[in-house]
């Protein structure tokens, strides 16, 4: 069967804040609980200014490397880990999630968060990955990272912070522009 042409994307615009954020949207696990870490960073524009009207979503495996297919990502009742979260940036462009380190989805795989970014001024969503900095052998063997020059590769690997958290900045444009991804099935 011929592949249908996808509906075009359009910018999220400036007025999504009443619609998309919701209670505990960025808390995949309750902050401060056992194993909880803070994944956070800034979304920057090409002038190095934080984007105060961006939205970041993450999708991830649990600590054991299993990608949950549990419902309840909007109504986070109980202890279910759904592996998905949504965080809007604040006026400085900062976003954060309370979550756990994802495990590798197969032995030897590099562990990462799948990341989607939306913003006013960004005409379509962009995808990237936020890799965990540990397990250097897995990172070295990762097909995506292996194809990147070292400067750009570094932008996809989060920095571990003293409190166990992860810092991952997203640069929409500029010298440190984040590596954004296209997948089979996507067109221009």
């Amino acid at each position: 069967m011929a592949e249908l042409i996808a509906t075009p994307g359009q910018t999220i615009g400036p007025f999504f804040h009443e619609a998309l954020p919701y209670d505990h949207d960025r808390e995949l696990v309750p902050p401060g609980g056992a194993g909880a870490i803070r994944l956070h960073g800034y979304v920057y524009d090409g002038a190095g200014a934080g984007a105060p009207d961006a939205l970041v979503e993450i999708r991830q495996a649990d600590a054991a490397g299993v990608v949950p297919t549990t419902e309840g990502s909007l109504c986070r009742l109980g202890a279910a880990f759904t592996g998905w979260g949504r965080g809007s940036t604040d006026r400085t462009g900062h976003y954060w999630f309370s979550t756990v380190d994802p495990g590798p989805v197969r032995p030897g795989a590099a562990a990462f968060f799948a990341v989607t970014v939306f913003a006013r001024g960004l005409l379509n969503r962009v995808f990237t990955r936020c890799y965990l900095p540990e397990h250097e052998a897995a990172l070295a063997a990762d097909p995506l990272l292996a194809g990147l020059d070292p400067g750009r590769r570094a932008g996809l690997v989060a920095r571990r912070e003293p409190d166990g958290g992860l810092r991952f900045d997203i640069h929409l444009q500029g010298d440190a522009e984040t590596v954004f991804l296209t997948f089979p099935g996507h067109r221009s």
Partner: protein, 255 residues
């Protein structure tokens, strides 16, 4: 109102830029340009490098799962949420969410937000001096059914001004947020209304340079969906990108 618009380009300037970009565009660019200078906010927010091809893996292959615990069926009717009848033209928008192979995207979350009939959002940063409707939030959610179908009852949104250029007006639209079966199918877009005179002037709509692709953003008026003495019906189907399951299950192509 204060006139602080001297520095803004005119609609004529913006329209000329749009025409020049369209004239130079290749046929078949079916997604928006990320770098589309007539939309001034894109200038510092578009990636300059081509996206890197990647094979989806792990979490990228599995969309988040939502269920009836997440969404109240009442959230699909934007005319009954706020304790009174909103002002404006009552309408229904109905359609299907399918993937690149035409398969329905079942039991998946659809979120919408929109301005009211006067073109005003319930949002603290909306400065348009048009009335807020106390009976309309413009926010909706639903889950698709087993056929990928969704439906919202709402009020037709009004056009609204913005500051991209002098006398800039957005064509009436409803923002849609969609998930597929893979996380890589994630989509946020805008649905427009047929025959809008603002189409040619709008750099966001025109950022899709392929005319046929642009048309996919426009709902069709469907008289069969209209209801006697009650509302007007629109149909709008959404196609997500191909799911990775396509590549894992080539036998699906045989039939």
């Amino acid at each position: 109102m204060t006139e602080r618009t001297e520095a803004l380009p005119s609609q004529r300037d913006i329209s000329a830029e749009i025409v020049a970009l369209h004239d130079a565009a290749e046929v078949g660019e079916t997604q928006p340009r990320l770098h589309f200078p007539p939309y001034r906010s894109s200038l510092l927010r578009h990636p300059t490098k081509n996206p890197r091809p990647a094979d989806p893996e792990g979490a990228e292959l599995v969309a988040p799962v939502f269920g009836h615990s997440d969404v109240d069926p009442l959230e699909a009717d934007l005319t009954v949420q706020s304790g009174g009848e909103p002002i404006g033209e009552r309408m229904l928008v109905r359609g299907r969410v399918v993937d690149g192979d035409g398969r329905p995207v079942r039991r998946q979350l659809v979120e919408i937000w929109q301005a009211n009939a006067a073109g005003r959002y319930v949002h603290q940063r909306d400065q348009h001096p048009a009335p807020v409707d106390p009976h309309f939030t413009g926010l909706g959610r639903c889950l698709t059914d087993d056929d990928g179908g969704y439906a919202f009852t709402t009020i037709k949104p009004g056009a609204y001004p913005w500051r991209n250029h002098r006398n800039a007006w957005r064509p009436a639209h409803i923002h849609f947020s969609l998930f597929g079966t893979d996380f890589t199918q994630r989509l946020i877009t805008q649905m427009y209304f047929p025959g809008d005179p603002l189409f040619a002037l709008d750099p966001i709509y025109q950022s899709v340079t392929d005319p046929a692709a642009r048309e996919r953003l426009v709902a069709g008026y469907d008289h069969d969906l209209s209801e006697h003495e009650w509302l007007l019906g629109y149909r709008w189907d959404i196609v997500l990108t191909g799911s990775h399951a396509t590549y894992l299950e080539p036998e699906d192509h045989d039939g």
